[in-house]
């Protein structure tokens, strides 16, 4: 099983794949983003209670989903790195941190901007917002840890352990609105269906897909950077770089 999977994740294969897909993925993402943003802002009807301001949902919710998904990705890669000691998992982990940090910052900022006209406040220390704020601090901590060690091997191991520890926060963020009294409302989209009217829902998956493509572009470039940084001086990589 391990050997079967590992052959697709050889460093030079990954490097080539990232180089080939980064720019097309950015183009697709950009077109999809413009399209879905136009849809979200101009085409979809206003909300019956929140009127136009609800449109911030289409950036707030996809960023929230991504900030959590990327953290799970970090933890899974940390796990793989600790168990199998595969370099590529550590490279994926390093490459994804900054993207998750940006999405978490976007969630908090867009939520703040959304909160003032609807709730009446920019910030309140309820369970959902506090746990998301902790996620932001976790990301900042990971970014700081990345460059705090002389040995890359040590840095990767510590990053993996910290990423796995921090994963405890993810279910807390997800279920905070169910477990405690919060100002933040419950999840709109659950296994029993969507509380967002189907007429307004369409831009949400579109936006999510476009953000996924655009983040993949940055992720791929980050991976290439990590690979070059680690193995750029080897003969194999020189061969690839020089064509």
């Amino acid at each position: 099983m391990y050997k079967y999977v590992a052959k697709y994740f050889l460093i030079n294969r990954v490097y080539k794949f990232c180089g080939a897909t980064a720019f097309p993925s950015f183009l697709i993402g950009l077109v999809a983003f413009i399209f879905s943003a136009y849809f979200a802002i101009y085409i979809l009807p206003a909300d019956i209670e929140q009127n136009e301001i609800y449109r911030i949902l289409f950036i707030h919710v996809p960023s929230a989903i991504l900030s959590e998904l990327i953290y799970i990705f970090l933890a899974v890669n940390g796990f793989i790195f600790l168990v199998w000691r595969t370099k590529i998992a550590a490279i994926f982990l390093n490459a994804a941190i900054s993207i998750g940090l940006v999405y978490t910052a976007i969630v908090l900022m867009s939520g703040s901007i959304w909160g003032k006209p609807t709730w009446g406040t920019y910030w309140v220390w309820d369970a959902r917002i506090t746990s998301t704020f902790i996620l932001l601090i976790q990301y900042i901590g990971l970014v700081a840890l990345r460059s705090s060690f002389n040995s890359r091997q040590t840095a990767d191991q510590i990053l993996s352990i910290v990423a796995i520890i921090g994963a405890v926060n993810i279910p807390i963020i997800k279920f905070s609105v169910n477990w405690w009294n919060t100002l933040h409302q419950n999840a709109s989209i659950t296994t029993s269906g969507s509380a967002i009217d189907s007429e307004m829902l369409i831009a949400l998956p579109m936006m999510l897909v476009s953000l996924l493509f655009m983040s993949f572009h940055i992720f791929a470039r980050n991976i290439q950077y990590e690979i070059l940084n680690r193995t750029g001086k080897t003969a194999m990589m020189r061969e690839i770089i020089n064509g």
Binding site: P45, W84, W119, V124, W125
Partner: protein
């Protein structure tokens, strides 16, 4: 087949995560009352909160209970469908504040009335499009 040392590391990490989960669970359980943002009217009645003690009160604004008094003063009833508390507030209400909708008020009790100094509106998870009525 998975190698022995790798399997040991997997067990180690799972044991680690399990204990970490248990620690988090029990600490959150112990802090439960502090994590809740607000108290419902029933919780207020049950607890011995003294007059002039600051806390947040949350619930639904009871239907037909909103009264606009002189100046910017308003009074309304917060209910959790079991108990009710009268709230008095002076100031601007948030946009989404209305009857039959959620509210979180910061303030204190005074003679069984809740004097609020900040009102936040809590909205639900439902989103419905505005149907513009076309008039000929």
């Amino acid at each position: 087949m998975i190698r022995k040392n790798r399997l040991n590391r997997i067990y180690l990490i799972f044991f680690f995560l399990l204990s970490l989960g248990a620690i988090t669970f029990f600490s959150l359980k112990a802090l439960e009352d502090n994590i809740d943002l607000y108290l419902t009217p029933t919780e207020v009645k049950e607890s011995k909160i003294q007059d002039l003690e600051n806390f947040k009160l949350g619930g639904m604004v009871k239907e037909d209970s909103l009264q606009m008094l002189e100046d910017l003063n308003v009074s309304f009833i917060v209910t959790d469908f079991e108990n009710e508390i009268i709230v008095i507030y002076s100031g601007v209400l948030p946009n989404l504040f209305k009857e039959n909708s959620g509210v979180v008020a910061s303030g204190f009790l005074s003679k069984n009335e809740f004097i609020a100094y900040e009102i936040l509106a809590k909205h639900d998870e439902n989103y419905m499009p505005i149907k513009l009525e076309v008039q000929d």
